[in-house]
Symmetry: C2
Subunit: 360 residues, 2 copies
């Protein structure tokens, strides 16, 4: 199996053990005579997969009984509309924290359906740190408070959650879900596009507290009605069955690794190694405040931006792929999700040191 | 490779050759060092797959240059809302032909966004035939005319298209796309959920004439804006990359088989064999008028409905899976898409004859 170190921000590397299992089970999954991708979503074979997948996720995140788990389509971007259509049904106002590119997208879409108060804005400081506790300007009548706990592009994370005064906290966890333990009870709703830490693109995981499922605005497309989806077991229409199945394999793999506390420790070691390499050098630079640095997405810049193209090309030749920064901010970026082993990060750090020696 | 004959209506059987190729390419697709499911959608490796997939589809269906091909999420059900949100922007009225369960669903969703005129209704005749030319009651000011050329549940197809007086014909081709040649120019927009004749669930194919991409209603969720999706090459957000890749393998397989004329001939032979077995017997029954019978979905009923459970159970034991009718109408149903070989249909007919001998 020829496998490169793939630092893509998403769709991203999956554990090689999961890839091998997919290949093995493709013609005939669980003795069904067909692949998971060929199963009727309403048949017993797929129902068993769907239920086991949800059960494993509930185990991993210790999801309380009064939270529903949904497996939807459209990625986090579909949720950007789904959230106000379902949750901004009191005052019609919502608090959003602007901490990077993706929360900016969430705000733009929410503005089409409700009144958004930007309760904290990290842009004036170049998205280099999240607001401190006293800096939030919340709207006490807002129906919910939205954060992006980990910003994939800016590599910024919330070291602690904002105080919401009892209003539901809604979090786009796309690039950090399952990277460390979290307390689901801190949130009213958690959502995450699958293509980073869960499985193939085309699946969006939602964990939502029962009491928030009060029904969507009348003009909401049926598929975006969270209450209806919960009532239908995420099967208002045919769900993305194969992505759901692969998510289940990833959840099993995470349990085999020892669960999220073990993954968190591994992720801290991986990220620590990479940030150390950056901080030890004047050749590389990461602008994010130490306590707000992402464990999953590590953007970095070269003192001489002219060298970026060469860096990417030589890295690719060395089997280190997809190290370009997002076109929104340029530079370089290494995404080091759960599936990236320490060995891959060591290979990257070795390359970085070597590149600096040659061009620094 | 232990493979059953899988008669599921969708997600459905895929060609075994395609399954083998997926397994082979999983760890390392096209020498990229990663699976198609791990590729960044904006990277050159996936862009090559995406473009080849579209080119092969254009080849197979001879798609004219002034039609865009989109690879979206949410299945046909997402399109049920997307259509009026994008196309009912003149009079705000639309003609729909009610020819079965799925056109009924399309109508219900469209009614939330525009005024629907049911221009033909097959329900009074138990969905046993489509309207004849003189029976349509079109609204000449309607912005478009919607049909479901093949009804998956009722097994009903349109032997010829209704006359629309120049208004765009919009067709939900989910269960018949690529089963035979069609003239794209007859349609303003064709859409199809992938999970029957294209690939894994979670992908919805759209073929739309340029001049219809005038922009969506203001309250349309961004992902449902067809013009914006066309401008973004179906990548307003991360598309379902793996499903897109598998669709590409299916398109390649169809070309290797000789294209859609060859598939159509095979499909006529397969369906003919099955309908013949039903018609030659008083034990089995299909209520659809001969000229309106689907080539893809063959519902049938037993003279004694009490025997249906036994039929399904014994069929499954014989490796003939998913023969239950949809819960909306009961009975039995065999879906025989492109991936079902003649051998599978012969096995089913053999079983049916045997079952009749034993219980008839």
């Amino acid at each position: 199996m020829t496998r490169a170190w793939n630092f893509s921000a998403g769709p991203a590397m999956l554990p090689t053990a999961v890839m091998e299992r997919i290949a093995e089970e493709l013609p005939d999954t669980n003795g069904s005579g067909m692949s998971a991708m060929e199963m009727s979503h309403r048949g017993t074979a797929f129902q068993a997969i769907a239920q086991a997948t949800e059960a494993d996720l509930r185990d991993l995140l210790d999801v309380p009984d009064d939270y529903r788990v949904l497996f939807l389509q459209g990625g986090a971007t579909a949720l950007f509309a789904t959230l106000p259509l379902n949750l901004a049904n009191g005052s019609g106002r919502a608090d959003y924290i602007h901490s990077g590119h993706w929360s900016g997208k969430a705000i733009a879409e929410a503005r089409r359906y409700c009144r958004v108060n930007v309760a904290g804005d990290c842009e004036p400081r170049g998205f280099s740190r999240v607001p401190e506790a006293g800096e939030y300007r919340m709207d006490p009548a807002a129906d919910y408070v939205h954060i992006t706990p980990n910003e994939t592009i800016h590599g910024l994370r919330f070291p602690e959650l904002p105080e919401t005064g009892g209003r539901p906290l809604v979090a786009d966890y796309s690039s950090a879900i399952l990277s460390e333990p979290l307390d689901v009870r801190d949130y009213g709703l958690i959502y995450a596009g699958a293509q980073k830490n869960i499985g193939p693109a085309g699946l969006c995981l939602v964990i939502v507290r029962d009491d928030l499922l009060t029904g969507a605005r009348e003009d909401t497309p049926s598929l975006m009605d969270l209450r209806a989806q919960a009532q239908a077991g995420s099967m208002l229409n045919t769900p993305p069955t194969f992505a759901w199945y692969v998510a289940g394999l990833v959840f099993q793999w995470l349990k085999e690794q020892g669960g999220l506390a073990v993954m968190a420790e591994r992720n801290r070691v991986k990220a620590g190694l990479l940030y150390q390499a950056i901080d030890d050098s004047d050749f590389y630079r990461n602008p994010v405040a130490a306590e707000c640095r992402s464990l999953m997405n590590v953007p970095f810049f070269l003192a001489d931006p002219q060298l970026e193209g060469r860096f990417k090309q030589e890295a690719a030749e060395a089997g280190l792929l997809n190290l370009g920064g997002h076109r929104a901010i340029g530079g370089l970026r290494a995404s080091i999700y759960n599936a990236m082993p320490l060995e891959g990060v060591k290979a990257l750090v070795g390359f970085m040191n070597d590149f600096e020696r040659r061009y620094g």
